[in-house]
């Protein structure tokens, strides 16, 4: 069954075409990365799926429902590049926020928060304030918050973009563990080719002006993915494939005569 179905989506911001003719179908338990240079509309596409902005044309279905309906049914959890924790709330209270919004009873809420903090390995930090945690820990709280109400779909907008390389690789491993444990479907926006290849079942390569999908690359690396996966020849082949797809999209863009680009 398809969890996300994007059909003929176009998005205009004034004169700029941020997205054009996007077709994308994501099935249950997939991990799909959207990758592309700045301005290719990958974050815009994610926000349209989340119904945080509306497409200019085309339709988006989440869990077989219109995106608006899916949002009001709380069918997805979202994680941004910044953790966006409320700093007047403790770690536990931040994780409980979506549960409060869904009016869960307190007892059930507390139980779930405990489970979630265990999942992201933050037991013992319940009553800490967000600013007392490191960037990586804050992002883990934000992931726990997004997963707390067990949404069938998790949308992640460059969640590890602000972290250093080593923390990022560790978070990648943890995210895969969480993904396998929770059974949700993930749409993941990133700038990093290696990250996209390492995590995904499919990588969607996008190119800018206008933002469009230039290639969809299935990732056939064996699971579970381990630290050593990054050293396998197949990993490098796929990284190269994605890189070439990205450059192809970029070169097409460069083929526009300079004079014409200057007037655009």
């Amino acid at each position: 069954m398809s969890v996300v179905k994007v059909a003929g989506v176009t998005k205009q911001f004034g004169q700029t075409t941020a997205l054009q003719g996007i077709e994308l179908e994501i099935t249950e338990r997939e991990f799909v990365s959207l990758i592309g240079p700045s301005g290719c509309g990958k974050s815009t596409l994610l926000r349209i799926v989340a119904d945080l902005i509306e497409p200019s044309a085309g339709t988006v279905a989440v869990n077989g429902k219109p995106a608006r309906q899916a949002r009001t049914d709380r069918d997805y959890g979202i994680v941004f590049q910044d953790p966006v924790l409320y700093d007047w709330r403790t770690v536990a209270k931040n994780v409980a926020l979506p549960l409060e919004m869904a009016r869960w009873p307190r007892q059930k809420r507390n139980e779930r928060v405990r489970e979630m903090l265990e999942l992201v390995e933050l037991q013992g930090f319940e009553s800490h304030r967000p600013w007392q945690l490191s960037g990586g820990m804050q992002q883990r709280v934000s992931i726990a918050r997004a997963l707390s109400f067990e949404p069938p779909l998790l949308l992640m907008d460059e969640p590890f973009g602000a972290l250093d390389e080593m923390t990022r690789e560790r978070m990648n491993m943890e995210l895969l563990k969480i993904w396998e444990a929770s059974g949700s479907t993930i749409v993941f926006v990133t700038h990093s080719i290696a990250e996209a290849v390492f995590l995904s079942t499919r990588v969607v390569v996008m190119s800018p002006r206008p933002g469009r999908i230039s290639e969809v690359i299935p990732i056939d690396l064996p699971r579970p993915r381990l630290a050593t996966t990054r050293e396998e020849p197949r990993f490098f082949e796929l990284v190269t494939r994605v890189r070439e797809a990205l450059h192809l999209g970029h070169d097409l863009d460069r083929a526009v005569p300079p004079a014409q680009e200057a007037t655009a």
């Binding site: 945080l52 949002r71 709380r74 997805y76 941004f80 966006v84 409320y86 700093d87 007047w88 600013w131």
Partner: protein, 282 residues
Amino acid sequence: MRRATVRVALFVVVLAVLWGLWEGYRWLWIHEGWTWPFRVDDTTMPHLADIFSALWGSASPGGVGPRLITVLGKGALFTAKEAAAGFALGALVGFTLGVFLAQFRLLQRGLLPWVVASQTVPILVVAPMVVVWANPKLPSGLQDWGAVALIAAYLTFFPVTVNTIRGLQSVDRRALELMRSYAAGEWRILWKLRFPASLPYIFAALKVSATASVVGALIGELPSSIPNGLGAQIINFSQYYSTEPRGLWATNVIAAALGISFFLVIVLVEKLVVRRAPENLV
């Protein structure tokens, strides 16, 4: 514990420096015979020690009757009652108005200029009118001091309204999107996100308002001939200023102490209520 010690020490040092500046200025101007910007003598700048010792002397120039500090203390309590009631009322009105103006942009564009205009009205002129208008309407327990509280509220509400609007609208875009992803309605967003996010702004306004409410109460007392507060003492001692300046100065000290204690109460409440990353405090 250590930080508290440092704070107290710092406070004492600053106090000593200010004391030294006052006495140094006084000594220099008298010694040199300078008259600019004004002549310095025991009337214009009494010794600080004299001002404080006057507090323990008799209130009336004749040397009989209760101590000055007793008289001023009673006045300060009365003024504090007016200011506190005015502050509470003004903060409540200011906050409510701020919430409505922030939630309804059209209302904000239409009404905010009038809210600003309300603060350009000279309070000294309006104060006696308010007393005359309000007193007949007030229940007997609220006579006089209730009217003064209204004047204090008038000075209190404005900063609270302005900062409430600003605070409620200062919310991070992502934090709002997060709320929308939970399908939250406007009023739940207000309660769960906008209100807590605006608390540092609101407390910044409350600190301004707390001292303003004391000033408002004093100003309200002056033209309305209410005998129980510090305002009456100010009028009283200003009549004797040329012969006995220490009384007015002492009243001044007590009024300032009242304003500072109002401020400190708000700081204390803020410490208890607002738990924020240090860099996010306003």
